[in-house]
Symmetry: C2
Subunit: 241 residues, 2 copies
DNA sequence: CGAGGCCTTGACCCAGCTCAAATAAGGTGG
DNA sequence: CCACCTTATTTGAGCTGGGTCAAGGCCTCG
């Protein structure tokens, strides 16, 4: 691909992401010069806690898991990211590393940008700073919500909540959704063992009107699922956060 | 107190906080004009999820708990804040509310600032933006670490980790620390019931060389506590994050 | 057709929860 | 300084959600 085509494609990708949507074309062009748009297969490790932290990543499609690993080898999946999510920090000492790792779990398109490019833009562009602050602040809120979930919800409720995230645009109180990645990963993402996930899903099937065939789930009565799930949460169904 | 004295005191308070430490005097003076320094007793509710979110708070001393409450009435304590911590967002729609509440649990000195003052400063002051981004990013990392803890650590290990945070400046591998607030709150902060906390602390006492008398804890051998606790964590003792 | 990965199921266990009661610790008025 | 009340904290007893270990089942791919 020729250089200017590459740049055009980078501008296209960047402009699709909420975080950059409001930027002026000249800024996008500037970023595009340094952006690297790439495709990553399932299993690709983007970085680990040992990797020097030089690039900021944007997820354009696919799914990327963010995890932490203890000395003893246990893994905690913090989140699984898709379109619009980001990885890494913009500020912070040069050769610093992150305390987590990131691995592609479903084939993804990603964009990487050198951190300093973004930091420079923060200095000169107040609107961009505000957008970033809002983004980071919503990431933190997401984590807060997650801590709440893992503290007060039962396993079946956590699964219910996970399913509801894919019902945001549903009509007529019903939906058919497709689990976007392995049940094992969903289990760990929700802070439980795969075996527990399997049993909790069976339990959820009995309690609410859902049917599960492989990775596809049919929800007959969204409201019933909401009643069962959201009673143990601080916010009600189309909760977004 | 006269107006200019009040302002001087606000400047003093602000300049002590890491987040503002690197700001130019003129910026501090500007903030001080709008800042409200106040004292709050134990039990003061700063805001709940129903309160319109107009002010940004800074904790100068004391302890403030941040919690989320479910429809069913269960409470999850997300964090307990002390000096240097902040509450609220800088950006985000005007009359929006937050999804959590904040209550003073040990008499505190606080500073409040109208959100718009900070947002304005972000627009014009790149250095301030960077400082805020770093702050937010570390808040998010803190939450990530918390999710990890609650996922992979046992109750006694979580208590060990909590104790170690007060041993950062210890010498000679020993320390005597004073628990800064009620055991019930510590328990909930660590995601467990008060009864479990009590038993887990007893267990920790057997496993590592610590002694507990009321709210004061004597740690004979910090290394032993580190060995017991940090094996189930992604980072080792003076972990800071 | 066989090997390996994912998912489910069974059997059993245990950390942490619940409910209830006993004790300690702090604060108040007399 | 004491009796009394209120709020923490500990302890006991029993339960259970979710973890662990092991065995199949099922599906995909070479």
């Amino acid at each position: 691909m020729l250089a200017h085509q590459k740049k055009e494609s980078a501008i296209f990708y960047l402009s699709q992401l909420p975080l950059f949507a409001s930027l002026k074309p000249t800024v996008l062009e500037h970023f595009a010069k340094y952006a690297d748009v790439f495709f990553a297969d399932k299993g690709t490790v983007l970085f680990t806690p040992d990797t020097p932290h030089e690039k900021f990543y944007l997820v354009f499609s696919g799914w990327v898991k963010v995890y932490r690993e203890t000395m003893a080898g246990d893994e905690a999946i913090i989140d699984v990211l898709n379109k619009g999510c980001t990885l890494g920090d913009i500020v912070g000492g040069g050769a610093r590393t992150l305390s987590y790792g990131a691995e592609v779990i479903e084939a993804a398109e990603l964009i990487s940008l050198p951190r300093f490019i973004l930091a420079e833009e923060v200095i000169r562009n107040g609107a961009f700073s505000l957008a970033l602050l809002q983004h980071l602040s919503s990431e933190r809120d997401l984590r807060d919500h997650e801590i709440e979930h893992r503290t007060v919800q039962t396993a079946p409720q956590r699964i219910g909540c996970f399913l509801l995230k894919f019902c945001l645009h549903a009509k007529d109180n019903r939906a058919v959704i497709h689990l976007p990645f392995d049940k094992t990963v969903i289990a760990r993402r929700l802070g439980m063992q795969p075996e527990t996930f399997s049993r909790a899903l069976a339990r959820l099937r009995e309690e609410t009107a859902i049917r599960v065939i492989g990775l596809s789930v049919e929800i007959e009565d969204i409201q019933k699922l909401v009643d069962y799930t959201c009673s143990a949460c601080s916010s009600l169904f189309p909760c977004q956060e």
